[in-house]
């Protein structure tokens, strides 16, 4: 697949024609929605929150945030930043609920400290590695972005950034920049080693204590749903220690619980409870 981010800047690539083509493609709509759902799951928010959508584009990702029903902790309110006026224009025409800002995340994140409960970014931050058209290095832009993002999140807040790294080097450069800004960081890969691999950078602000571990970046991801580890604290409080949290058995058990309560649950698939590879 060709990578427009290797040759163009985002505001040039996403012109009026491309913005429309992108947003009306049902294939793209579906992929972006499922990744936004996955990011939300990783954010694990229990009540309506203020969320920053980084590289919000025409609102395909943000829409998932505002349409989340109360049973699932929503609806959330979001503010989106994007550098492409054409993408934002399409967002306006689609009457999205988020507030929109025309801004380049490589210049920083212009919100006061502790503004957001959480942030998501779907398919955007790899664009920061392209600095063709600007007088600043990718490292400089990444560092402005992550420093600004870090400050704009409240303590204990999380950010999940799905992105398309060009190669391992780029993956390391992006993750390294996040860690340097002070984030606890972990990389999660869905469908690893396939052409549909999806990479999620999971970031925490402040020392998230998971299983008594702090600082260790694997510890951050380890405590999350769908990652196969024992959670000693939960086990102690619930008294049901025999099922591993996040294991297939655990998910099936949860689903049964939810179904009994009359809630709609995703049908069980071959993906249910499957291990995801964690890098770092």
């Amino acid at each position: 697949m060709s990578r427009p981010e290797d040759t163009l800047s985002a505001d040039v690539h996403y012109d009026d024609v491309e913005a429309r083509k992108y947003t009306t493609s049902s294939r793209i709509q579906n992929i972006q929605a499922s990744m936004a759902h996955r990011a939300l799951e990783l954010l694990d928010l229990s009540s309506p929150s203020l969320i920053l959508d980084v590289g919000c584009g025409s609102g395909l990702s943000g829409e998932i945030l505002s349409s989340l029903p109360p049973e699932e902790g929503g609806p959330h309110v979001w503010i989106g930043m994007d550098v492409s006026a054409s993408m934002l224009d399409v967002a306006l025409q689609r009457d999205v609920e988020g507030d929109l800002l025309l801004a380049d995340i490589g210049q920083g994140v212009p919100f006061r400290a502790g503004t957001f409960d959480a942030a998501i970014s779907i398919s955007a931050i790899q664009w920061l590695c392209n600095a063709e058209s600007s007088d600043v290095s990718p490292q400089g832009r990444l560092s402005r972005f992550f420093n600004g993002l870090y400050a704009s999140l409240k303590r204990g807040g999380r950010a999940v950034c799905q992105f398309y790294p060009k190669n391992d080097e780029q993956k390391k450069m992006i993750t390294g920049a996040a860690v340097k800004a002070g984030f606890g960081a972990g990389l999660l890969e869905d469908d690893p080693d396939t052409k549909n691999v999806k990479v999620y950078l999971v970031l925490t602000v402040g020392q998230a204590v998971v299983n008594g571990q702090t600082g260790d970046i694997t510890g951050v991801v380890k405590g999350m749903d769908n990652v196969d580890v024992m959670d000693a604290r939960r086990k102690a409080s619930s008294g049901k220690g025999e099922i591993k949290k996040g294991s297939k058995a655990w998910i099936m058990h949860k689903k049964e619980q939810m179904e009994r309560k009359g809630k709609v649950v995703k049908s069980t698939s071959k993906y249910t409870g499957r291990k995801r590879r964690i890098a770092f």
Partner: protein
């Protein structure tokens, strides 16, 4: 641009971060619209401790709203008082600046707002 967002935005110009005058930004020649948006009580209660009440008071006055009470309500008060909740919802979520400018009192930079979207792109010498 919602009044909510204005309560969280600060000037992005280099050197302005350390100046207390760079927040809040001041609306100029603002055209407002009032949208009809469903009340999200839980969100407002969650947000309330993060709202800068002094800045909100300034913004409300600048936009021609009647003066706010000097003290922010507590989350408990907000939860118990539907009229208060509705007022705050109306100001923060339903009131939008459609056209105009946001001006930094520290460096004088003007951020244009068009069709409700504020332009925070800066020429590189200001970053």
């Amino acid at each position: 641009m919602k009044v909510l967002s204005l309560n969280f935005l600060s000037c992005a110009v280099k050197g302005c971060k350390s100046s207390s005058d760079s927040y809040p930004l001041h609306p100029k020649d603002a055209e407002l619209v009032q949208d009809d948006i469903e009340v999200n009580a839980q969100l407002l209660i969650n947000l309330l401790p993060r709202i800068d009440w002094t800045a909100l008071t300034t913004t409300a006055t600048e936009l021609g709203f009647p003066a706010l009470p000097p003290q922010a309500p507590t989350p408990e008060e907000l939860e118990a008082d539907e009229a208060k909740l509705k007022d705050l919802h109306h100001l923060l979520m339903e009131t939008q600046i459609m056209e105009g400018k946001l001006v930094c009192a520290s460096c004088g930079h003007e951020y244009a707002v068009r069709e409700g979207i504020a332009n925070f792109l800066l020429p590189s010498h200001l970053v």
